[in-house]
Symmetry: C2
Subunit: 224 residues, 2 copies
Amino acid sequence: MKTREKILLCSLDLFNERGERNVTTNHISAELAISPGNLYYHFRNKSDIIYELFQQYEQLVGYYLTTPEDRPLTVADMRGYLESVFDGLWSYRFLHRDLEHLLENDARLRQDYREFTGRCLDAINRIFEGLAEGGVIQSQPEELRQAMSLNVWLVVTNWMAFLKTAQGNNRQVEITKRQLKQGIYQVLTLEVPYLMPAYRGEVLALREQYRPELPLTMMEPAPA
Amino acid sequence: MKTREKILLCSLDLFNERGERNVTTNHISAELAISPGNLYYHFRNKSDIIYELFQQYEQLVGYYLTTPEDRPLTVADMRGYLESVFDGLWSYRFLHRDLEHLLENDARLRQDYREFTGRCLDAINRIFEGLAEGGVIQSQPEELRQAMSLNVWLVVTNWMAFLKTAQGNNRQVEITKRQLKQGIYQVLTLEVPYLMPAYRGEVLALREQYRPELPLTMMEPAPA
DNA sequence: ATTATCTATAGATCTATAGATAATGC
DNA sequence: ATTATCTATAGATCTATAGATAATGC
């Protein structure tokens, strides 16, 4: 593998594990056992590495969120969207963590991310339309549907942050991919009141599969 | 005013305006025109300043979220909760921005924030119960209500971050308090399907007052 | 006497580059 | 010849403290 590729992979790993803020170019080169100078030969700076990782993420999620033009959507489709989007979120989870700071320092990223958000919201909107056509959920007025899509986006993109902060005392508690996917439970909660009778049972059963194991007991004060 | 108080106020201002990450103890002392040594005489480090600001925030929100024991809740109560919570969020908006990093580096804060989240979720839950008793929204099974409360929490605490990232190209665009309160529109969107006919019109009218002016056009690519 | 403040600085990073050297591709 | 890599380092911060000095409260 080319050094350039290695730098990207290693950076992604370190960013995801420790957070972008806690990973310097020194850490990356040390982890790869190359010199800092070598890293700077391949990338102008840390921002450039991040920007390239973002582009990968953007492409991945864009691919996941394409909707078929020729047919309505099924419950299985919906599940597929949720599973794959949370997979993508997991793989690039560092991005949504220090996002504000990243955007602050990179105009390209700021612009691209804004457009990315717009495309994702449109896609969520189309998915709701498709599910309504497929008889899974009630059809809603455009205005309400857009506000719902935005709520879905907020829940999806911030579930990880919630888990981290609500997690136990231990600093080193790693969130698992399985826990991340419990966000699907929360997203489906948003749909519950709109489910059509014919599919209500099926979707509720699907939702149950993602129910968090330790619901709100994790909020209790630590044992003395 | 005592220097200690000044340090807290000035830190809060700078953190809110520039983000905690971009504000060092040097910046704070420079802004106050005191020596760094003096700042360290009053606070052991930056974490201690942040912790004290968090405690103020915790107390403020705790006060806002108390529920009356002796009567059900009205639409006016609900509006009051939303307005005051978003006010608090505004005053200490830096906290939810770099939260993960703050928690990572301060065990006290980590523990306190976890319990704070638990209390807030309980309060939201009680508010939903109160509104159901008051005939404003349908009563829901405990499980659904808890999941709904968590979604409310996610929308409330992350609306600010969304605004920042979705905001225009300019790095210096400051979010206004008014825009922050458009988050109320999103929270009320969560309640729409559960509204009882008797209050449906009233709540929908309330919601309209918070509708964002520039809905999704802000997502469009920048003009060429 | 105690409390508050300042000056000066050590020590720890981090970023990013210059310049030398090694490896590779014609 | 070009591409890749390393060594060494300048310059910029930031944190946190030691030690001196000033201000205040009995």
